[in-house]
Each structure stands twice: as structure tokens, then as C-alpha cells.
């Protein structure tokens, strides 16, 4: 996978994960163009499209579009499953996840993603293990904060 973007129906970016080195300007350009292209798709169209020399796989969940750019040899159908798995993880973690959860807790969305994918590839295929790792890390964070002077557990 080269990158993953999450954006709303109005085209507002909610998450961007890049697995290839690009300048900020290039990222902005790609994001803008791709968001436009995907938002212009009609509901009856299939989830895949060719864009530049990449394959784009996208799926809409409620008000959020999940959009991945994969390479030629990657399997489009399994990418749909990857997207779905990520949504399931978010759902389990936040409890019936909605767009607002991801807006207000974007850093957690990133943490979950980073336990599921690494360098654009799936690192853990067990839902349970991903969630366990996040749980443990969160716990570590809380404990450390307590140790370090009893500030409220959400330091952020």
C-alpha cells in the first residue's frame, strides 16, 4: 500500500497515512485530486479505479470514505477486507465508532492503524491481538502519567 486517506463527504481530511516519501506539497496535491475524483463517483460504481499509475480502492462507511492506493501486484479484493478490518478495529475500540470519534481522537486512530499495518503491509491478522496491544499501550501511558506527577490521565 502506498497511502491511506480518510475523508468526509465534504472532502475534509480525517486521517492520512503515507508509506512513500513525498513532499508536503505533493501530498496536498494528490489528496486534493483524489478526494475530488472519489467524491465524484456515483454510488453504483465499483470500488476500484485507476488513477495515475495506481490502483485506488475505496469504501464508504457512513459519512467517511476510506481510500487506499495500492500497487499493481496487490489484490484489490483483499484490500477491501483490510479496510473493513480497520473499521472493525476502530469500532471495537471506540464502541460503535462514528466520524466524530475519529475527529476528536485522531491520534488514537493512528495508533490503532500502526498496530494493524506497518510499512503498508498487514502486521497482525488477529483482531484480538491488535486490540490487546493497543490496550496495553494505553495502560502504559496511563501508568506512566500517574507515576510522573499525578496529572489527569489525559495529558493531551
Amino acid at each position: 500500500m502506498q497511502f491511506m486517506l480518510l475523508f468526509s463527504r465534504q472532502g475534509k481530511l480525517r486521517l492520512q497515512k503515507w508509506y512513500v516519501p513525498l513532499s508536503d506539497k505533493e501530498k496536498k496535491k494528490i489528496t486534493r485530486e483524489l478526494v475530488q475524483t472519489v467524491l465524484a463517483r456515483k454510488p453504483k460504481m465499483c470500488s476500484f479505479l485507476e488513477w495515475r499509475d495506481l490502483k485506488i480502492v475505496y469504501k464508504r462507511y457512513a459519512s467517511l470514505y476510506f481510500c487506499c492506493a495500492i500497487e499493481d501486484q496487490d489484490n484489490e479484493l483483499i484490500t477491501l477486507e483490510i479496510i473493513h478490518r480497520y473499521v472493525e478495529l476502530l469500532d471495537k475500540y471506540f464502541g460503535s465508532v462514528c466520524e466524530l470519534d475519529i475527529i476528536f481522537n485522531f491520534e488514537k486512530a493512528y495508533f490503532i492503524l500502526d498496530e494493524f499495518l506497518l510499512g503498508g503491509e498487514v502486521q497482525e491478522t488477529s483482531k484480538k491481538n491488535v486490540l490487546k496491544a493497543i490496550e496495553q499501550a494505553d495502560l502504559l501511558q496511563e501508568n506512566q502519567n500517574e507515576d510522573w506527577g499525578g496529572l489527569s490521565d489525559d495529558i493531551l
Binding site: 486521517l15 506497518l118 502504559l140
Partner: protein, 823 residues
């Protein structure tokens, strides 16, 4: 100093902004606060400030001043700091910044941290955005972690290694030892990432590939794991809709593909498991189909036995019938890849593929179209074309050009009959006439000229087509050309194929003039129309004056191209009227040009293609010359070597002789090779210069070869005398002598000759253009014939002259050449 506003609070505040300006103001205010906070080196809330910065960055605002702060966070001992710091690094830093190198040391330390979650952060960051330098520095640490027994770290290290290898391929070797036991793991995370790592290595290095095939016996291991996944019962941890760990299955299948490619043994070893997966996988959900898809790709790419291949294609065929359009899309893509190699198997699914032309999704339609063209053959052409033409009618504009080109190509290859071919072309031109590529026009014209028996039918259909609508330029161009060529057939109502229509000459000229006037016509189209009108002057009998008028009007056209043509045509009417009919003669059948594809520009020898006549502004000299060249090739096929030098050399401008002067420009004194210098064309046949230059050109003395009377009619007699070259046995020199036994002179006498394809001919300048009456004198002219294949000499001659106040013209064939003249 009050604590900086919380992250969630800021997000809430920013979201209340009602305008872009209001939001920008809030952002600026907060950024200022954050900046001062950074300046004060506030350790406690640094992570909060950076987190806020990351949020604002996602909204699109600059956040570069936070880059160094990320580094400080990473260096901190607090886990929260590290978490935010590494996140910030991945979002704000990239390998272009020099700053990122400062991370290297931190990452190194964290890779050796006591807490696995910190190690995990470091591995993740390195594996996502590590630069080549960082990878080089830290590869050793990654390799160490690849060998750990901690599966949480091992799986991350494997993917980190993948990234390292992608960035610095030379480092691949060092990871080899660590891969030894990777597949013995039970942990699926490690298994999955290991398979990814092995895939990366095998793809990049043929040596690695060979090593893993032979030494590590990778294939049996993978087969075993895959088998377990399929056969084992329900495993809640990895289950997705009844399938056990589809992600791992897909990756294993992909690795098997690479291992089996071009390797018989490996392919055989995986044959059974592939068949098993192909037949047993549940297809009701996307997951199952994802696995089947990967299986099909693998089967098609390795050396699988034919039964397996057929199984694979049938799976794709079933995919085509699936309600899920994603599945259909994927099927079409795969079929497109295999249509060349497994053509017959794919043919079986042709009707389903053709149905996909009607799909609503653009990507599916495009693939279906490409696949349809790949499947067209002599047997299914009629049916397929019907579908494709219907598709052309209804598809989106972005497809029309490609579809039209594809149809032309298919029609050219497989047309069952000429009439069908013409009809198909007509249908495309009328349906998608404005989307047809420019290079299709000369192609089509050539096709039409080749279908001699269809000329009347074609011109009639084209006429009817543009009668209603002359806005589609390619259609109008082809129609104009045809009307110009075959207008006589049109008005004489000669059509056999369908009911001939009643058209008068004036009606034909009406439509051509409308094209000329219309705003929608491009300059090129106008050129076609004007030339067509001009050509009709020799084909129509009643409307020559009207044509003259039209032509003269355009002599002052603003369009330079049109003006030039009109002026030349005017000149043709005024000064060279006697040549007009010769010049505007019916085009000969053109040599077929092989097209390589719809995008190839059709190029033929400039002299023989009519297009230069239509579209390029021809200088006044060579245009009649190229026409005459066509005339000279009347006997079939085109003599590619241009006989006529294109430089109008300074010859005495005698009305009739001018044409002939252009036909041969050798000096009468027989001056040798200075001729090439004055003749720009490169293919000056060398034979003209050799051998005979030292001999007198006119040699009336019979050199042993009997002379013949080539033509004798209406008092005009033409005799041929022969001479063979001593130095070049393929050359025959013919001297013609024209005499006139009537009581009046024959003036403006023009002699033209044409020979079959295998010969080459050169006509030298005649002695004069008047054949005096009462046989008081003759016109002599020399013809040189090159006959390398020693074929029987045949010649067609054309004579034009003025006699007793009227223009005379005659065509004759000379077949009585003595054998000695050509053997």
C-alpha cells in the same frame, strides 16, 4: 503560566468556526501560543502542543516549526511523549528534511528499550519512513529483533526489514539467516509478515528465489501451512466469515506464484493445493472471492496443467456473473491478462463479457470493451460487431475514439464481405463521426477505393449520410472525397446493392457547396470539398460552368489553403483545360497500407497517396506530375519509385510539353551523373545514368530488333523502335515516332505511357508538340524501360492532342512488343 488548552478543547473550538477566516484566526492564535510554549521549553505539555499542531496540520495549516519538538518528544522517557513524538515524526518529517537524521540515535536506543511497546514504536517509525541512511545504520538492530522469540516484536521487525530491503537492496543478504525458521512460527502475525518478507526477497533477487526454492524447500512448507488453514476447524481469532485468516492465505498464494513461475517442479508441488483452494473456497462473500482471485492469478502465472487453467478461467467466468461489480471488475481485468495465452478458454465466456458492455460502471465498460476487441475473430465478427456498434452508440464520449478505432481494425481484419465492411464503416462514421481519429480518414478512403464494385453503393450511402448533417468532419471528408471521385456514379443512379436514388448534378454541388460555406467545416474539410467540386468538372456534364464559378470565387478566399487550390484549379480551367480531364481522372486502386494500430499514422509514399493532393498545398509543378504518375501506374499497383523528379527545372514552357519535361529531365545531350544534383529525389534509378550516356540517344538504325506500330488510328500513327543497352541488359530504349496522315496538324500533342509494376519507365522530352499534317514530320520521344525481371513488356499509352478544333484523347494498350525487346 496557565496550562495550554487541551487538544480536544481546541478541536471543539475550531469546529465552531463558521467561516474559513474565523478558523484561520483561531489557528493563528493557537499557533502563536504553541510557539511561545516551545520557546519556553515546556516539557510537561510539549506532547499536548505537538498533538494540537498535528491536528492543525491535518486541516492544512503549516506545522514545520514543530519538527524539532517531535525529536525532543521522541528522546523523552515518557511513553506518551514518545507516542506523540513518533506520530509527529511520521506526519511532519520526511526523508527530505535533514532533521530526520537526528532521529536515528533515538530510534536506535528505543529499538533496545526494555519496554516492547517502545521498541514497537521505533520499529514502526523506521519501517514507515526510514531513509536509506537510517536503514543502513539500523539494519543490524532490525536483524537482531528478527531473531527474537517475542512474536510482537518479531512481526514488526520482519516488515521493518522489508522496508530496509526496499530502500537499500544490497542489505538483503544480511537478513537471510534470520529467515530460516520464520515459517515454523505458530503466531499468525509472524507468519504473515514473514511471508511478506520472503516475497520481497524472492521478487528482488533471482538468487534468493533459487535458494528458497531448492535449499529451503519453501514450497512444501507453504503448502503445509495453507493446507492447515483450509482444513483446520473454526478458529475464532482468525476467522473472517467462515474463512480462516484470509490475509495469510492470500499472501501465501502470492508467494507460491512467485516460486512457481517458470519452474516446473515448484508448480507441480503446488498443483493439488491450488486445486483444493479453487474448489473449496466459499464464494458467497468478498473474502472468499479475494482468495479465489489470488488463486486464479497464481494458476495463470505458474506452469500449471491445463485442467487447472481451465478451472481458473471458469472461476473468472463465474465472477463475471456475480452481482458484486467489484468481482466483475476484477474478473475482466484478469481475463484481459489471459486472453492472449488462453484465448479459446476465454472465448467461451464471450457472451458474458459482451453483456458487461452494458454495465453502468465506467471501468467495467472499458475493460469489457478491450476484452471484446481481443476476442473478435472471423467466426464471431458479425455478432460481435453488432454489439460493439450498439456500444459505440451509447457509450460515454471518452470511449468513442478508442471504440471507433478498434472497430475499424477488427473490420479490416475480419470483414466477411466488402459490403459489410463498407456498411460498418458507414455506421461508425454516422454514429461517432466526430470522434474518429484523423488518421482514419485516409485509411478509409484507401479501403473504399479498393472495393471497386462497391463504389456506387458507397458514394450513395455517404451522400445520403451528409445530406442530413455535415458537421462530423471525418465523415464529411470521406464523403466529399468519394463524391468527388464517384459523383458520376451517383447521378447516373447505378447502384446495385440498394435502391438507387435520384440525384441531380446540381443537388450534389449544392451539398458540397454547403460544406464549403458551413462554419462547422474545418479548413481541411473545405479543402476536400473544393477538390471534390473540381473533380466533378470532368465527371459532370451539365454543371461545368457552375463549378468554374465556385472555383473562381474561392480564388480570393481568406483561407490561404483554399485560395491556393482555387487559383490552381482556375488555371487548370483557363490555361490547361486540355490537361484537366487527364489530371482529374479516376484514382487508381491504392496499395494497401498495413496499419499497426488505431494510433498509427498512415504514411505512404507521398507521391502515390491521394492525401497530399487533398491536404497539402501542392506547388504548381509536382501536382500535375503526381497525377501523371498515378496515370502511369494504370496497369496495376503503384510504382513506388517516383519516376518524376520533383524539381521543375527551367525548361521551355511549351504548353503540351511541360508535363513531359517534368517526366524526364535528362539532358538531351546525354550528360551523365550531374543529373542527381538537379534532381532532389533520392531514388533516381541508377540505370538511367549508366550505359547509355555515351551513346547517342536517338538511334534510328534498327539494331536487330524489329520495330512495331504501337498505335494507328484517326490518321495518327505511332511507331516504336528498340534498342538494348550494352552495359545493362535490363534496359530497353524505345524511340517513338508519331506521324499524322490527315490534312490538318495535330497540336498540343502529349504522349504518356504506363508500365506494369515490375517495370520502371522514364520518359524523356519529346522533340515537339505538333504532329504536322500529311506526314511531313514526326514527333520523336524516347522511353527507357527497366525490366529487371525480364517479364513480357506491356505498355498502356495515352494520347491527347487537338485536331480539327476539338480535343482528342485516346487510350491504347501495346502488346505486340517483339521478344527481343524484353528478353
Amino acid at each position: 503560566m496557565p496550562a495550554p488548552i487541551r487538544l480536544r478543547e481546541l478541536i471543539r473550538t475550531i469546529r465552531t468556526a463558521r467561516t474559513q477566516a474565523e478558523e484561520r484566526e483561531m489557528i493563528q492564535k493557537e499557533c502563536a501560543a504553541i510557539r511561545s510554549s516551545f520557546r519556553e521549553e515546556d516539557n510537561t505539555y510539549r506532547c499536548r502542543n505537538v498533538a494540537k499542531l498535528l491536528y492543525m496540520h491535518m486541516l492544512g495549516y503549516p506545522a514545520h516549526f514543530g519538527q524539532l519538538e517531535c525529536l525532543k518528544l521522541i528522546a523523552s522517557q515518557k511513553f506518551t511523549d514518545k507516542r506523540i513524538g513518533y506520530l509527529g515524526a511520521m506526519l511532519l518529517l520526511d526523508e527530505r528534511q535533514d532533521v530526520h537524521l537526528l532521529m536515528t540515535n533515538c530510534i536506535k536506543n528505543d529499538l533496545n528499550h526494555s519496554t516492547q511497546y517502545v521498541q514497537g514504536l521505533a520499529l514502526c517509525t523506521l519501517g514507515c519512513m526510514g531513509s536509506s541512511e537510517m536503514c543502513r545504520d539500523l539494519a543490524g538492530e532490525v536483524e537482531k529483533l528478527l531473531k527474537t522469540s517475542n512474536s510482537y516484536l518479531r512481526k514488526k521487525a520482519a516488515l521493518c526489514a522489508v522496508h530496509v530491503i526496499r530502500k537499500v537492496p544490497e542489505l538483503m543478504e544480511m537478513f537471510l539467516p534470520a529467515t530460516k525458521n520464520l515459517l515454523n512460527e505458530k503466531n499468525h502475525g509472524v507468519l504473515h509478515t514473514s511471508v511478506v518478507l520472503l516475497t520481497e526477497m524472492c521478487e528482488r533477487s533471482p538468487d534468493m528465489l533459487a535458494h528458497f526454492r531448492k535449499n529451503e524447500k519453501l514450497v512444501p512448507q507453504l503448502v503445509r501451512i495453507l493446507k492447515n488453514l483450509i482444513m483446520s476447524g473454526y478458529s475464532p481469532e482468525h476467522d473472517v466469515s467462515g474463512i480462516s485468516d484470509p490475509f495469510l492465505q492470500v499472501r501465501i498464494l502470492r508467494l507460491l506464484r512467485i516460486l512457481g513461475r517458470n519452474d516446473d517442479d515448484s508448480s507441480e508441488a503446488m498443483n493439488d493445493i491450488l486445486a483444493q483452494v479453487a474448489t473449496n473456497t466459499e464464494t458467497s462473500k468478498n473474502v472468499g472471492n479475494a482468495i479465489l482471485y489470488e488463486t486464479v492469478l497464481t494458476i495463470m502465472d505458474i506452469k500449471s496443467e491445463s485442467g487447472l487453467r481451465v478451472l481458473a478461467i471458469n472461476i473468472l467466468g463465474r465472477f463475471l456473473l456475480n452481482n458484486d461489480k467489484n468481482i466483475r471488475y476484477v474478473a475482466l481485468t484478469s481475463l484481459l491478462k489471459t486472453v492472449q495465452t488462453d484465448h479459446n478458454a476465454v472465448q467461451r465466456h464471450r457472451s458474458t463479457i459482451v453483456d458487461c458492455l452494458k454495465d453502468l460502471d465506467v471501468s467495467i465498460k472499458r475493460r469489457a470493451m478491450e476484452l471484446s476487441f481481443a476476442l473478435v475473430n472471423g467466426n464471431n465478427i458479425r455478432g460481435m460487431m453488432k454489439e460493439l456498434l450498439y456500444f459505440l452508440d451509447s457509450c460515454e464520449p471518452e470511449f468513442k475514439a478508442d471504440c471507433a478505432s478498434g472497430i475499424f481494425l477488427a473490420a479490416e481484419k475480419y470483414a466477411p464481405s466488402k459490403r459489410w465492411h463498407i456498411d460498418t464503416i458507414m455506421r461508425v462514421l454516422t454514429t461517432a463521426g466526430s470522434y474518429v481519429r484523423d488518421d482514419a480518414v485516409p485509411n478509409l478512403i484507401q479501403l473504399i477505393t479498393n472495393s471497386v464494385e462497391m463504389h456506387a453503393y458507397t458514394v450513395q450511402r455517404l451522400y445520403k449520410a451528409i445530406l442530413g448533417d455535415y458537421s462530423q468532419q471525418p465523415l464529411v471528408q470521406v464523403a466529399a472525397w468519394c463524391i468527388g471521385e464517384y459523383g458520376d456514379l451517383l447521378v447516373s443512379g447505378q447502384c446495385e446493392e440498394e435502391e438507387p436514388i435520384q440525384v441531380t448534378e446540381d443537388e450534389v454541388l449544392d451539398i458540397l457547396e454547403s460544406v464549403l460555406i458551413s462554419n462547422m467545416s474545418t479548413s481541411v474539410t473545405r479543402g476536400y470539398a473544393l477538390t471534390a467540386i473540381m473533380k466533378l468538372s470532368t465527371r459532370f456534364s451539365c454543371t461545368v460552368n457552375r463549378i468554374k464559378k465556385v472555383v473562381s470565387i474561392y480564388g480570393s478566399s481568406i483561407d490561404v489553403e483554399l485560395q491556393q487550390r482555387a487559383v490552381e484549379y482556375n488555371a487548370l480551367f483557363k490555361k490547361y483545360d486540355h490537361m484537366r480531364s487527364a489530371l482529374l481522372e479516376r484514382m487508381p486502386v491504392m496499395e494497401k497500407v498495413t496499419t499497426n494500430g488505431p494510433t498509427d499514422i498512415v504514411q505512404t509514399n507521398g507521391e502515390t497517396e491521394p492525401a497530399p493532393l487533398e491536404t497539402k498545398p501542392p506547388p504548381s509543378g509536382p501536382q500535375p506530375a503526381s497525377q501523371a504518375n498515378d496515370l502511369l501506374d494504370l496497369l496495376g499497383g503503384n510504382d513506388i519509385t517516383p519516376i518524376i523528379p520533383t524539381v521543375p527545372t527551367s525548361k521551355p514552357a511549351s504548353a503540351g510539353g511541360e508535363l513531359l519535361d517534368l517526366l524526364g529531365d535528362l539532358n538531351l545531350t546525354g550528360a551523365p551523373p550531374s543529373a542527381p544534383a538537379s534532381v532532389p529525389q533520392l531514388s533516381q534509378p541508377p540505370f538511367l545514368l549508366d550505359g547509355l550516356s555515351s551513346q547517342p540517344l536517338f538511334n534510328d538504325i534498327a539494331s536487330g530488333i524489329p520495330s512495331i506500330t504501337a498505335y494507328s488510328k484517326n490518321g495518327l500513327k505511332i511507331e516504336f523502335t528498340f534498342e538494348r543497352s550494352n552495359t545493362n541488359p535490363s534496359v530497353t530504349v524505345i524511340t517513338i515516332q508519331a506521324s499524322n496522315s490527315t490534312e490538318l496538324d495535330m497540336t498540343d500533342f502529349v504522349f504518356q505511357a504506363a508500365v506494369p509494376k515490375t517495370f520502371q519507365l522514364q520518359l524523356l522530352s519529346p522533340s515537339s508538340s505538333i504532329v504536322p499534317a500529311f506526314n511531313t514530320g514526326t514527333i520523336t520521344q524516347v522511353i527507357k524501360v527497366l525490366n529487371p525481371q525480364k517479364q513480357q513488356l506491356r505498355m498502356r499509352i495515352k494520347l491527347t492532342y487537338n485536331h480539327k478544333g476539338s480535343a482528342m484523347q485516346d487510350l491504347a494498350e501495346v502488346n505486340n512488343f517483339p521478344p527481343q525487346s524484353w528478353q
